[in-house]
């Protein structure tokens, strides 16, 4: 796997991701939001590939785009109300929220600006070997065994919770 780490691809993918994110937040129709979120997710998967993380990219596509987003679309279709589209889309305190978020962005940028030197000193290390997936597997079943088990327990609990919540009669 040799992704092409050209700036062009980076700017294209990150542009897609940010544009998709913007549409998620601003679209009136929830289905459109979900579709733009899918664009974002795929673009982020592309960015993972550029960062030599093919396994994470694969997981991102399978779990996010193929699983979670289908779930979202399912629920949107189930609860789709004509009137939610006609209603006011933003809550009353949206200016406050927007201002706070902008402040957060400013903070982030300030931090990056300040710490820029830290990063520039370190060029990206050369590519690790091609067995990224194996390494991740070894780590998951080695160092992170306990965390992995807890994650599986979390999923089990989530399944039970979702079923109990969504089922009409059990």
């Amino acid at each position: 796997m040799t992704p092409v780490a050209t700036p062009f691809f980076f700017y294209m993918l990150s542009g897609l991701a940010v544009a998709g994110g913007l549409l998620v937040v601003t679209r009136r129709n929830a289905v459109h939001s979900a579709l733009s979120l899918i664009v974002t997710l795929l673009a982020v998967a592309g960015l993972y590939l550029m960062l030599y993380a093919p396994f994470v990219a694969g997981v991102q596509i399978i779990v996010y785009a193929g699983g979670i987003m289908v779930l979202f679309l399912f629920v949107i279709m189930l609860v789709s109300l004509e009137r939610t589209i006609k209603e006011r889309q933003f809550n009353r305190m949206w200016p406050v929220g927007l201002a706070a978020s902008c402040a957060l962005l400013a903070l982030f940028l300030a931090v990056f600006e300040k710490g820029k030197k830290l990063f520039e000193d370190r060029p990206l290390p050369p590519l690790t070997e091609n067995n990224n997936t194996q390494q991740i597997g070894l780590m998951l079943y080695g160092n992170y065994m306990f965390a992995f088990e807890i994650a599986s327990l979390l999923l089990l609990v989530a399944i039970l919770g979702a079923v109990i919540m969504a089922k009409k009669r059990i």
Binding site: N29, I62, G66
Partner: protein, 440 residues
């Protein structure tokens, strides 16, 4: 330019790995054209084979034995009015078929037609394939929702539930095959060796593992490989919404399911995507369990003589097809009315025979005067031929299933998916792991 064109020819890796973008592009174009032609051929074959299953003739009018029927259909669909319902969500309606098509064609970038006959060999090949083919469900859901109509919506909900549920069993079956790549063992219950870190997700790596272990994963740890394969073979029919799992398109219940409101070109894109996806999942099955491009009995019937004999198969197949066409010419009624058809069929047979002779010439040429490029071409031809041949068997099975079985009901489908296939595939996975460790 010419240098970079020629430089790849001697290479033994895929253009993606060799970082040769020109050849990657050429491969992409070849695969795109090849799949499109295959879909057309499949269309014709399905109608003919289905017709003969059902004591009728199928298309006979457009060209000899209806050979030009797919082209006529394509032209008809292209010039048909493209209806977009007034109440639909125009943009989503417009983009949905493209997503389905994109998903099913992107998969082909990692399909290994041979050790170097693939666009690229990804580290996460099989994961990529499963992931991208799972994106096809988005196209279906979008199409159903955007039509803003009841039948498509129910069809879309059905098919998304179906595809998501069968993906689970499918994934587990795939995992058990991947597990086998790291469990070395000669033959059925021969000596297995648990090797550390030789397992792979790469499609080419999986086939090479089968080559090294000298066994198709179908027969490995018999019957574990077989069970996993059967699970996959069932799940892949459900994934592609084909009979007997074609509920999303159940015409007797939902008229046409999620593509009820589509017409003309857009509808044909859905069909194209469906057939392309059928070929794609069949190639996953072939890669994982049937030894991919590896010819039958590579070890039992080994040696240069056998290699040569098996390399003759592609040419002989085309010659055989040509012979069948000529037989058809002879059997054509001797009436002036049929003259054009007879000539057409003879020309078709001649083209097939020419291709066959050409392929044979390459193989025999390589045998008589070994030359690097000739040798490689021979090998490549043989690889691609065996891969395509195995996929073609699956394509025929698809037709056979469709002619034989009634359709499942939705709850039964879900029951089969979750209560039968999932436990079995989990069990197979666990037992495979245990057997692998015990023999290691």
């Amino acid at each position: 330019m010419l240098d970079s064109f020629m430089s790849y020819l001697g290479s033994t890796v895929t253009p993606g790995e060799a970082n040769n973008q020109l050849w990657a592009m050429i491969y992409v174009l070849i695969i795109f054209a090849g799949v499109s032609v295959a879909v057309m051929a499949m269309n014709w074959l399905e109608r003919k084979a289905l017709a003969h299953f059902q004591v009728r003739l199928g298309p006979m009018r457009v060209g000899p034995h209806g050979l030009l029927q797919p082209i006529a259909d394509a032209v008809k669909l292209l010039i048909k009015e493209d209806i977009i319902p007034a109440e639909s969500d125009k943009f989503v309606f417009w983009i949905a078929p493209l997503i389905g098509l994109l998903a099913s064609f992107t998969v082909y970038t990692v399909v290994p037609f041979g050790p170097s006959q693939a666009v690229s060999d990804m580290n996460i090949g099989i994961l990529f394939m499963l992931g991208v083919s799972s994106l096809a469900v988005l196209g279906v859901v979008m199409a159903g929702w955007a039509s803003n109509s009841h039948y498509p919506l129910i069809g879309a909900l059905r098919s998304s539930a179906q595809m998501v549920s069968y993906e689970v069993a499918m994934g587990l079956a795939v995992v058990s095959a991947i597990l086998m790549t790291s469990l070395h063992g000669a033959g059925l219950y021969g000596v297995a060796k648990l090797s550390d870190g030789t397992g792979t997700l790469s499609m080419i790596g999986i086939v090479q593992a089968q080559q090294e272990q000298q066994v198709w994963f179908l027969f490995k740890f018999f019957p574990l490989g077989l069970i996993a394969f059967v699970i996959f073979a069932i799940a892949m029919i459900a994934e592609t919404n084909r009979a007997p799992f074609d509920l999303p398109e159940a015409e007797s219940e939902l008229t046409a399911g999620f593509h009820t409101e589509y017409s003309g070109l857009r509808w044909s894109l859905f069909m194209l995507a469906e057939y392309a996806a059928m070929i794609a999942v069949s190639s996953i099955a072939v890669t994982l369990w049937l030894g991919g491009w590896v010819r039958p009995f590579p070890h039992w019937l080994s040696g240069p003589t056998w290699d040569f004999i098996f390399a003759l198969f592609p040419g002989l197949t085309f010659l055989g097809l040509g012979a069948i066409a000529f037989l058809g010419t002879v059997r054509m009624p001797k009436h002036a009315y049929f003259r054009v058809q007879t000539i057409g069929l003879a020309a078709f047979g001649a083209v097939l025979a020419l291709i066959g002779v050409f392929l044979l010439a390459i193989v025999i040429g390589a045998k008589v005067s070994p030359h690097d490029i000739l040798n490689r071409t021979t090998e490549g031809l043989s690889n691609v031929f065996w891969f395509v041949f195995k996929v073609a068997v699956f394509m025929y099975l698809y037709i056979w299933y469709r002619a034989t079985w009634p359709r499942y009901r939705f709850d039964q489908l879900m029951r089969v998916g979750w209560k039968v296939m999932l436990p079995i595939s989990l069990g197979v996975l666990i037992v495979t792991a245990i057997v692998g460790v015990l023999l290691g």
